[in-house]
């Protein structure tokens, strides 16, 4: 018999187009191969700076996302009660008119009654601007519940941050420490990097209560107790100081270690940095024995010693304060071992290993560079210890300080933007403290007018807060109030709770985009749904009068809106992945990208960005209307991307600017800009010169270039901050100084306990100990690599990987509690009770249980059948978490970091008990939602692709 003949050289498709993946926020470059107008295959764009040709599991399932039966098809108007999921399909014109009516009424009376919150938003430069133009301060995206602790902790310390804004030096690191990272937004870059480190044989240590994913491939896994990393890092700092394994030169030159802090207990200047008349921070010149501006290039500054200031006050250097604190026995490995579940010997060893990798056997990169003083260095000295951290640190109520402690650790060994260490991605580093300040003080909010600035920003002290007459919050999410002063990303997770209680003001229009707030992104599902459906007793109307929502899919939240704007999928629209928002830069240089429509929508949907630009015009918002009253961007978002200028010459995209398209960063709008992007693979990337690639905080050529391109206001070096003046400003206010002070003693107490200019670990706000033994276990979630939050479950391929989730429990704990593999247990928290299926395992901290995030679904949602395991066996921990902490001193504080407002998802504490035999289903089981109003068949067999094989390709 003859061997089968196989056609091996079939072209993949008849057309290839490049665009940017949006199966998650990593934003890899993709090539979409089309055949006969259908997607044959999506693969990674080999030239793309983010993913260099690879694709993750989600990205590889784009076909099933795009053709999902859960897609919405037409604007919907609610006809039943909120939450019933009953809708009628309406025309776009009617939908836009309805929305314009609701919105213009608000704008012309009290713009604050619009709360505009966007979730997985990738166009915050537009949406934030739109909110400002509307005149409401009530805008934020998902950063507040996501990882603002990481962003703020970094920006206030090193002028850049972990998260997706910095990255380890994958090429040179000898040691990588991961703290609480399961996946991050840099999904593929981290994996590519880990692959490189593994291939080089570099060492990876993962600090994580759970040993899966990246922790699985780590050379060492440290199964830390949740919420205690700060203590662990404190002990590492203790050890580095104790054994004198620090980079003094770096501390002196690059950080505020030498700056003098006034020691004047009880007085208003206590704890202030001592500055001269020009505002220059002062240090002690050890050679000339006198006070000198710390940044005097030639000064030989001293890091230790109590100094006397003119007028007799005393001062100590920041470094001395740090050393005094961390050399104390409370930070010794022995003490900390009991808190963290990490043995003292291990702590000492890790500290030794960090020091040794960073400081011994110095590695030099043969690359001359010039520092900010103009001094030329022939080589770049490596500090090959990289640290990367994410929500395992940030999703706790002590996350801000834990994150800052990590940065202090980096500073101690000089591992900031050195070869081998953490590296900034453009446009970072930025000056510290960061700016600009948030707009939206009461005086700035006026009917029918924009607010003068962006709603989100960076607070430098109490005077920047947005407060009402009584010192209460102005914003609906209470951002930039005493509850969360440095809440740079807002508190999206508090919006519905506060809106339902009209606190501080009623909300007439709740306008949301791309956030499944009625389910997995609410801290507590039941409470959120209660607030979304709360009725005002007097008027009989919903307390939140109108809910407008844009989603692309039949998600749980859709059912709770009054008006739905059905969005396109990521393959059907224009988008800008902008440097003004969350760019895709890497340490080698800035980058941005676009999405272009690959396919025409086959249903009556519109890109959300087009919709708000249209609404902006209909509402007469100045930025979206010409002087003659015409739409300013008749071409919709594509038009805006090209022609909008935030500041002269600066627009959403940095590439191919200027009339001839030859400028980068700054330049006049270029009508051919989008074409140029498409020709280049839909992205733009600038490669920094080799001498600009490290030490960017102090690198003259980098700083000058960054100023030129508009990233930073001046080419001054960026001094890294151990000692945070904004925090000291709040402390000082709480001590009774200054004009803006906390309104009551409870708030004073809270500020004094939690605002420390030098970071310090404190237990999570709900306490680490459990004296009554009620809720002894920590309960956390992890991102599954093959799922993106809730939206993967509609995907026929991805859902097979995670059709339902289980609660993972340490085997020894399960045995003690009488729990069996595959059996069911009740999981109780002070807030609620769920029933979950158990899976036992070894690699987990024994007092921690965990599950994959957002697998549990509501019955009827996402185009799945009502008996789908996602809804019948899958569960959410969000039924157990609460927006608010228990009342204390008569006040109910939010369940967030007291500094930044970051949602404390991972502070959750639970108890477990076996569930008696009964139905093999999860609890609570909410009543099913009706199916997607657009009837789409749910095939019994899915044979996508068969045509490609059996039909000959069209050449």
């Amino acid at each position: 018999m003859k061997q089968q003949k196989i056609e091996t050289s079939k072209p993949i498709g008849d057309t290839v187009k490049t665009t940017t993946c949006y199966m998650c926020a990593c934003r890899c470059g993709i090539r979409v191969h089309l055949r006969d107008g259908k997607i044959r295959y999506i693969d990674g764009n080999p030239n793309h700076p983010v993913n260099k040709g690879v694709l993750c599991g989600k990205g590889s399932a784009g076909i099933m996302h795009h053709y999902s039966p859960a897609r919405l098809s037409k604007p919907l108007r609610r006809v039943g009660a909120r939450g019933e999921g009953k809708f009628e399909e309406i025309e776009w014109e009617d939908a836009l008119r309805l929305a314009t009516g609701w919105l213009s009424e608000v704008r012309n009376t009290d713009p604050r009654r619009l709360a505009f919150f966007t979730g997985r938003d990738q166009s915050q430069a537009l949406t934030g601007y739109w909110a400002a133009q509307f005149g409401t301060p009530n805008f934020a995206a998902h950063g507040g519940f996501c990882s603002v602790n990481m962003a703020a902790g970094g920006l206030y310390s090193i002028g850049g941050s972990f998260w997706e804004f910095g990255e380890p030096d994958w090429e040179h690191a000898r040691l990588l420490l991961l703290f609480g990272v399961a996946e991050d937004h840099d999904s593929n870059p981290i994996k590519i990097g880990l692959g490189k480190m593994k291939a080089r044989g570099a060492k990876v240590i993962s600090v994580n209560p759970v040993r899966t994913g990246y922790s699985a491939v780590a050379d060492e896994w440290i199964g830390v107790r949740p919420g205690t990393d700060g203590a662990l890092i404190g002990a590492l700092i203790h050890e580095l100081l104790r054994t004198d394994r620090i980079d003094l030169e770096f501390l002196a030159r690059t950080t505020d270690a030498s700056w003098l802090v006034i020691q004047n207990p009880g007085k208003s200047d206590d704890g202030q940095i001592f500055r001269n008349e020009d505002g220059q921070p002062m240090a002690w010149d050890g050679i000339n024995k006198k006070l000198m501006p710390a940044r005097t290039p030639e000064a030989k500054i001293s890091l230790i010693g109590e100094r006397e200031l003119p007028g007799g006050k005393k001062a100590k250097s920041v470094f001395q304060l740090l050393a005094e604190r961390y050399l104390a026995p409370e930070h010794s490995p022995e003490t900390v071992a009991a808190i963290t579940d990490v043995p003292a010997d291990r702590i000492r060893e890790i500290a030794r290993e960090i020091a040794s990798a960073a400081l011994d056997d110095p590695m030099e990169i043969q690359q001359p560079w010039t520092d900010w003083r103009g001094v030329r260095h022939e080589t770049m000295t490596a500090r090959p210890v990289s640290i990367h951290a994410m929500r395992g640190i940030s999703a706790h109520s002590n996350g801000f300080d834990t994150c800052r402690l990590l940065h202090v650790l980096q500073m101690l060994i000089g591992a900031v933007d050195a070869p081998g260490s953490f590296r900034y991605k453009a446009p970072f580093p930025r000056p510290i403290p960061p700016g600009p300040k948030p707009a939206g003080k009461l005086s700035q909010i006026k009917a029918g007018e924009p607010i003068p600035g962006m709603p989100l920003g960076f607070v430098g002290g109490p005077e920047d807060l947005l407060l009402d007459e009584n010192g209460g919050p102005v914003r609906i999410d209470h951002a930039f109030s005493w509850e969360a002063p440095l809440s740079a990303h807002g508190l999206m997770h508090m919006v519905i709770e506060n809106a339902g209680n009209a606190n501080p003001t009623p909300v007439d229009v709740l306008f949301m985009y791309m956030a499944n707030m009625g389910w997995n992104s609410s801290m507590n599902v039941a409470n959120t749904l209660k607030n979304l459906t709360a009725v005002d007793e007097a008027s009989g109307e919903y307390r939140i009068k109108h809910v407008i929502y844009s989603d692309a899919f039949w998600s749980e939240t859709v059912a709770y809106a009054d008006l739905i704007f059905p969005d396109t999928t990521y393959l059907e629209r224009w988008d800008a992945i902008s440097l003004l928002d969350r760019p895709i830069s890497d340490a080698e240089g800035p980058a941005d990208a676009i999405r272009q429509p690959i396919l025409e929508p086959d249903r009556d949907v519109r890109a959300f960005q087009d919709v708000i630009i249209e609404l902006g015009y209909r509402l007469g918002l100045p930025a979206f209307t010409t002087n003659s009253g015409e739409p300013k961007y008749p071409g919709g978002y594509a038009d805006y991307i090209v022609n909008h200028e935030r500041n002269p010459g600066i627009g959403p995209l940095a590439g191919w600017r200027g009339e001839d398209g030859e400028s980068s960063g700054i330049g006049a709008p270029n009508p051919d800009q989008l074409d140029r992007y498409i020709k280049n693979g839909s992205f733009w990337k600038h490669h920094l010169d080799p001498d600009q690639r490290y030490f960017k905080h102090s690198n003259k050529r980098y700083l000058e270039w960054a100023k030129e391109i508009g990233f930073i206001p001046s080419a001054d070096p960026i001094v890294l901050r151990i000692y945070s003046e904004p925090l000291q400003a709040f402390r000082r206010a709480a001590q009774g100084h200054g004009e803006v002070q906390p309104p009551n003693s409870e708030t004073r107490k809270r500020i004094l306990e939690n605002f420390d200019p030098i970071p310090r670990w404190r237990p999570p706000l709900n306490g680490l100990e459990d004296p009554e033994g009620n809720y002894p276990l920590h309960a956390i979630t992890q991102r599954p690599m093959a799922m993106y939050h809730s939206w993967g479950s509609q995907n026929a391929w991805l859902r097979q990987i995670h059709t339902s989730n289980r609660l993972f429990v340490a085997r020894e704990l399960a045995e003690k509690l009488g729990l069996k593999d595959g059996g069911w247990a009740y999981v109780k928290s002070p807030t609620g009770r769920i029933k979950a299926r158990i899976k036992t395992m070894e690699g987990v901290n024994p007092r921690t249980v965990w599950t994959w995030n957002a697998i549990g679904k509501r019955r009827g949602a996402w185009g799945l059948s009502e008996d789908a395991p996602e809804s019948n066996e899958g569960f959410l921990l969000n039924h157990l978490i609460s927006e608010l902490l228990p009342k204390e001193d008569g006040i109910q504080w939010p369940n967030t970091d007291p500094v930044t407002g970051q949602a404390a998802w991972f502070d959750l504490r639970v108890q477990l008990e076996p569930a008696p035999a009964g139905a093999e289903t999860t609890e609570p089981l909410a009543p099913p939602l009706p199916q997607n109003p657009t009837k789409r068949s749910r095939p019994k067999y899915l044979t996508y692709g068969a045509d490609f094989r059996f039909k000959d390709p069209v050449q």
């Binding site: 097979q800 059709t803 339902s804 395992m841 395991p869």
Partner: protein, 308 residues
Amino acid sequence: MNPSYSVIFFTTASGFGYGLAFWLLILDSSNFPQDRWLSGVGLALALAAITSGLLASTLHLGQPSRAWRAFTQWRSSWLSREGIAAVVSVAMIGLAWLGAIAGMTGTLLNAVAWLGIVAAIITVLCTGMIYQSLKPIAAWRSSLTTPIYLIYSCLTGAFGTAALMSLFNGDGSLAAVIALISALILIAMKMAYWRRASQVVHLTPESATGLGKIGKVQQLEGPHTTGNFVSKEMGFRIARKHADKLRKIVLLGGLSAPALLGFLGVLDNGLAAVFWTIATVLSIGGAVVERWLFFAEAKHAVSAFYGD
């Protein structure tokens, strides 16, 4: 292994049919004095059993219309050989049956009968070898597997023959004694098979993954949450308690009881037809249970990758 009903039906029904044909053809070809309708009815019964079994086995196929292709790979595949042997044996048995009802005798018929006999043995042998040769299923890789298939055919066929003979006023005692002995042998063989099966070395998660050097290996998560073809087809597990009960049913109800009935029939010729008919039914029933267990208890190597 997932006990597929079509395969169980196929092996027991056709096994019985081959056994029955085997004995009847021996009777035919050895000119044993007999009722001509014994062969006529008996071979028809055998053919019916065989063909229904074969048809059932094609139900198990995804593309039954291409079944003919299965005859091509006799050089390497026991399944292919089984297919060819099955067709040859059905043809021969069919011819012999036609000859029998036509009242034919003689060398030609004898030759056909002998070809049928040999083909029947080969078919059952191939069936056994299909399983016995499968490396991933340690329990089946026993030198007893094929003999058990053969003797099971012999047993059910012999009881059938005995019952038919007594129905057609002959003396089926010899066949019944053969059946009885087969049953006793099978008891011993099955016990030996099970003893061995409990001792065979299976692939373990440690050996299959090669991770045993690190320590005990347990599956944390399967590739997909719900089942798949492999986990359903190969991952079938039966509870120990359940299996023990079924084994007892095979040994007592499916082998000992028929043996006793066979013996009683020899003692009391008057009731022999009743005893042996019941014995035939019981032994076939036992065979069904035995086959079900044969599959259900067999652990496929791939289950090691699923943590089992």
